[in-house]
């Protein structure tokens, strides 16, 4: 198959996955369980994606662990998105320099 055709098929498939719920759930859900479920989805999803993946993305798991700790502390004290992201990066970079 032509690469461009394959890319188009894949892009359309992924787009549909994202679009259909937005199109079909146009009203606030009345069901209390479903509303609660969807309320908790982001917390679980993001937590699952963060740990232990953050330890595996850097070559040295220690750097990832330090980034995690630095990020947890910064987020706890001051939730600013940019600051937390930069702190995590700095932790990995400094660990790389020292080790």
């Amino acid at each position: 198959m032509n690469t461009y055709a394959a890319l188009l098929i894949m892009a359309l498939t992924v787009y549909m996955i994202r679009l259909l719920p937005l199109l079909f759930l146009r009203r606030e859900l009345k069901n209390r369980f479903l509303r609660s479920f969807l309320h908790y989805v982001p917390y679980v999803t993001l937590a699952v994606m963060t740990f232990p993946a953050i330890l595996e993305v850097t070559e040295n798991p220690l750097a990832g662990a330090l980034a995690l700790i630095a990020g947890l502390i910064t987020a706890w004290v001051n939730g600013d998105l940019f600051l937390v992201a930069v702190t995590c990066c700095a932790a990995v970079f400094l660990t790389g320099l020292i080790l």
């Binding site: 992924v14 787009y15 994202r18 937590a47 699952v48 232990p52 990020g71 987020a75 998105l81 940019f82």
Partner: protein, 251 residues
């Protein structure tokens, strides 16, 4: 100020806020997509093909899967079904995001907003109070899809120019963002804090226990999200109140 003027000022300020909040996403995306570009180069994709792939799919794990499919010359059925499985979490996110959109929002916005449903942008969009203003999402999409696509293209063209240390450091910025989103609510609300801790623990168990370890990343996210968010909804359902309508409320 007339109502119309007021509305357009708030659109511009939301757009700016989206661009600002999208900046760390852009940085993180750049690092991840750079690695993606290097992988694309390995299977002999051109920079144009890789750039179009990133603009069209806007999905990290999804695009790594796409490379495998392209390399193995997979058929249409395998291609479509793999894409659905690997990206199924976006379906859940889209369901959740639908509840952040005002029922009065013009329909066409939904077609544009759909392309911006990624782990990171979803996280930010659900973190705003009240209804989501589409301009916020658009600001974020402009800067982060730009970074994602540019990173992929540069990865193809200049695979090994950035020092490995810098790439390694940039790659954790996405996780930093996730922490910035889940930790402050976890601090305010012990139930959410517990949920976050249990989620991380379960995720870790899934990566070390035999059998469970063989479940791929996309599936792990789906299984744990359904189980744990479902359990949380049973344990502590939301109060029966509806989100305040912000638009047209206070002036």
């Amino acid at each position: 100020m007339s109502e119309r003027q007021q509305a357009s000022t708030s659109v511009i300020s939301w757009l700016k806020r989206g661009l600002r909040d999208g900046f760390p996403i852009c940085m993180g995306y750049f690092a991840v997509s750079f690695a993606l570009g290097i992988a694309a180069r390995r299977i002999a994709m051109t920079w144009l093909q890789a750039g179009l792939m990133s603009m069209g799919l806007v999905a990290s794990a999804g695009e790594f899967a796409a490379l495998v499919l392209l390399e193995s010359h997979a058929g249409v059925i395998e291609m479509v079904s793999t894409c659905i499985v690997v990206n199924l979490r976006y379906f859940l996110m889209s369901c959740a995001l639908s509840q952040k959109l005002s029922p009065e929002l013009p329909l066409y916005h939904r077609f544009f907003l759909a392309q911006g449903i990624t782990d990171e942008m979803f996280a930010l969009c659900t973190a705003v109070d009240g209804w989501l203003v589409p301009a916020y999402s658009y600001g974020m999409m402009i800067i982060s899809i730009f970074g994602w696509t540019l990173g992929t293209i540069l990865g193809v063209l200049a695979g090994n120019i950035l020092p490995a240390q810098v790439v390694a450091a940039l790659s954790v910025s996405l996780y930093g963002m996730f922490l910035a989103i889940i930790i402050p609510p976890a601090r305010r609300d012990a139930f959410i804090g517990g949920l976050v801790a249990v989620s991380m623990l379960a995720s870790w168990l899934f990566s070390v226990l035999p059998v469970l370890r063989t479940i791929t990343g996309g599936f792990k996210v789906i299984i744990l999200t359904v189980l744990l968010a479902g359990a949380a909804a049973l344990l502590r359902p939301l109060e029966d109140e509806h989100p305040e309508t912000e638009q047209g409320g206070q002036s």
